[in-house]
């Protein structure tokens, strides 16, 4: 059985593991990125590569050490360097003496033939019929959607939890349940079970959490190890952290399509061109949240990320024009948890003060607070 590995990104590894295994390969599931992954990645990466590159490097080396023969990864287009990462990883890893094959899937619209040949290679390796393969893909997609659904639910419930950390515990329990469910029927059961577990967490519904939009680069947004668990931290401080970027949604709009049209239209007055990565999205989503009456926006960016630097340059003007506080967190291997924690706490305090001042001006009318609901747009 060929051994296949893939990048770690948020909680998606649970779905990708199933995909690889259902195709008949042995999945070398990448480790949760940790200090050792990062140390390993930093050692063999160019110093100025961004943190997602370094984390992937560390994860690949760990997986290759465990015997992985094929690496499946995604590519990218445009000014963002991620488009070159597949080849750069390959070059560096080959020079370290590893023997493997890397299959980089670029968005199909960029080069349909290339996409087809790579897919054909994988399907042939797996000795699957196209029909069986489509079924496998569909189930993995369902799982991915289930994971996103639960993550959104946990984010929405966390600000109401009575005991700090209880939602996070319940969510990790859900992840294990989802991991075990394989057939459609099992997944449907898992879905109900997870909803029940999360709903069982004791909550205080009288709270009126702040609503904060999270924008920025996708890997930093999705990988809690890199963003130092910004969503959990915010949730436990009593703020609902909404983000528009989830893997399933992003795949539909940006990988398979031409990008989220509405977000780009919103961004246009401030940034009217695609600057690569999520730069334009960060701008458009910030405006979206401001117009929806969010209390604030947090912008996460890997250190040295060009698209996000462009976005960061535009954000102060949006903050002034639309009267919405924005906090940018620049993340890399040097980022300390304490600094991020302090900034987030201070930011949440600032937002509470702002809301209170508004309520005073409104003759004591309480602003709505936010009911939980899906915050995807």
């Amino acid at each position: 059985m060929r051994k296949v590995t893939f990048p770690h990104m948020g909680y998606s590894h649970i779905a990708f593991k199933q995909l690889i295994e259902d195709m008949g390969f042995e999945a070398i599931t990448p480790c949760h990125p940790n200090r050792y992954t990062l140390d390993l990645g930093v050692r063999y990466s160019p110093e100025h590569a961004c943190i997602p590159f370094k984390i992937l490097m560390g994860n690949y080396i760990e997986a290759l050490e465990r015997g992985a023969e094929i690496i499946i990864t995604s590519g990218g287009v445009g000014p963002c360097r991620a488009g070159l990462y597949g080849m750069t990883h390959e070059k560096i890893l080959k020079s370290l003496g590893y023997d493997f094959r890397i299959v980089v899937f670029d968005p199909p619209l960029v080069n349909l033939w290339d996409f087809y040949w790579k897919l054909r290679f994988m399907v042939r390796e797996a000795r699957l019929s196209w029909r069986a393969f489509i079924d496998v893909i569909k189930r993995a997609w369902d799982k991915l959607k289930l994971l996103d659904e639960m993550e959104i639910k946990a984010i929405n419930l966390r600000p109401y939890e009575v005991e700090k950390g209880s939602t996070t515990r319940a969510f990790h329990q859900c992840l294990q349940i989802i991991d075990r469910a394989r057939t459609r029927k099992e997944m449907e059961e898992a879905r109900r079970e997870c909803h029940r577990i999360l709903e069982k967490v004791p909550k205080d519904r009288s709270r009126r959490p702040l609503k904060v939009g999270l924008v920025g680069e996708i890997y930093c947004l999705l990988e809690p190890f890199i963003n130092l668990e910004v969503e959990r931290t915010l949730g436990e401080l009593g703020a609902l952290a909404c983000r528009g970027v989830f893997l399933t949604g992003y795949t539909q709009t940006d990988v398979l399509g031409k990008g989220n049209h509405n977000v780009r239209l919103l961004a246009a007055p401030y940034l009217n061109q695609f600057v690569g990565g999520h730069g334009q999205n960060s701008v458009g989503e910030t405006i979206f949240y401001a117009k929806k009456g969010f209390d604030g926006v947090i912008h996460v960016a890997p250190f040295g990320c060009l698209p996000e630097i462009v976005a960061k340059g535009v954000l102060p003007k949006i903050s002034r024009d639309l009267d919405i506080p924005i906090l940018t967190l620049t993340l890399d291997e040097q980022t300390g948890r304490a600094g991020v924690q302090t900034r987030l706490e201070a930011f949440v305090d600032l937002l509470y003060q702002k809301r209170r001042a508004k309520e005073v001006k409104g003759f004591g009318t309480l602003l709505p607070g936010y009911r939980c609901g899906l915050c995807q747009h």
């Binding site: 940790n34 950390g165 300390g336 304490a338 706490e345 600032l350």
Partner: protein, 320 residues
């Protein structure tokens, strides 16, 4: 017994304790060196406070702040644990109610806080670069053999400050040595350093912020008259250094404790001065439950009971 409130600010370089009365008047304030041992510093501070206790007062609430706020909070039993930005803003507002800009430079970080109508509307914090913080000034004073207390007054004597590269401590130091070997006067070099650090602060930490008066300058570095003068020169505005500038964080924490206790009306969680004599043990281990490999830190009290534990990501270690 009159009620009073204790504020503790555990910073990287200094640990400060403040006691205020009901009206926010400072009854006692202490400025101690942390010396890398925050628990010992807090215990020492408590001991000193107990020895010199203002008669007729009893502690009704405790607030902690600073980078060691969770640790200090767990040890003494804090009612409020607040980040240093909020604490500093609260304290500045107590001293100068109309304040619109706060410049704060501490031992290891520097921050700017913008307030409008008494509400924090923006802030920035620099924790990566040490240029312009107290530690660097300390180090340069030691290198030049000048007691840090005289650093500022010496800078004020300068007629012709030299231009020093202040972008980074390493460059600043080599540039200072270069200027000294060229034969510039020591006070000119020191005044130049102050100006460079102010320039660095305004270009990095305060970049793009609207600095409106009244401007309050606080934190340990505010003791340095040279820095204050350099800020006044660069901003062309009056700079106010509040009375309790080195302990503003602790003052803010005490005030927040007071507000919290008045709103919630519970009895304080303060464990009392016995904490000063108690022995705390900290130890950490790596949880191998999954490949996250979280580093879990435990703090044990004198009776062997766990006081606090943190560091896990999945939440399973948070149940004591």
């Amino acid at each position: 017994m009159e009620p009073c409130y204790l504020g503790i600010d555990v910073g990287s370089v200094s640990t400060n304790l403040v006691i205020i009365d009901q009206k926010g008047e400072v009854l006692r304030s202490l400025y101690l060196r942390t010396r890398g041992q925050p628990i010992e510093a807090v215990k020492e501070g408590l001991k000193k406070l107990e020895e010199d206790w203002p008669a007729g007062f009893s502690i009704q609430g405790v607030g902690t702040t600073g980078s060691g706020r969770y640790l200090a909070g767990a040890i003494v039993g804090a009612d409020v644990v607040k980040n240093e930005i909020t604490a500093h803003a609260v304290a500045a507002r107590l001293e100068v109610p109309e304040v619109q800009t706060i410049l704060e430079i501490g031992g290891q970080d520097s921050k700017i806080i913008i307030l409008r109508q008494g509400v924090v509307v923006d802030f920035a914090m620099n924790t990566v670069c040490a240029a312009g913080t107290g530690s660097f000034l300390d180090q340069q004073a030691a290198r030049l053999g000048i007691p840090i207390e005289n650093f500022g007054s010496l800078a004020l004597k300068s007629q012709q400050p030299v231009r020093i590269a202040g972008r980074c401590t390493v460059f600043a130091e080599s540039d200072m040595i270069h200027k000294q070997q060229m034969g510039h006067k020591i006070e000119d070099i020191i005044a130049g350093l102050c100006e460079a650090l102010v320039r660095n602060y305004l270009n990095n930490v305060a970049k793009g912020k609207e600095i409106l008066p009244p401007i309050v300058f606080q934190g340990g570095v505010a003791a340095n008259a040279g820095m204050k003068a350099a800020f006044e020169k660069a901003l062309n505005q009056e700079i106010i250094v509040p009375r309790h500038f080195p302990v503003m964080g602790a003052l803010g924490a005490a005030w927040l404790a007071r507000e919290y206790m008045q709103q919630n009306g519970n009895s304080t969680k303060f464990k009392g001065f016995r904490v000063a004599a108690e022995h705390f043990e900290t130890y950490s281990f790596v949880c191998e439950g999954c490949s996250n490999l979280c580093e879990i830190v435990n703090i044990k009290g004198g009776d062997g009971k766990l006081v606090a534990r943190w560091g896990g990501r999945c939440g399973k270690w948070e149940i004591l």
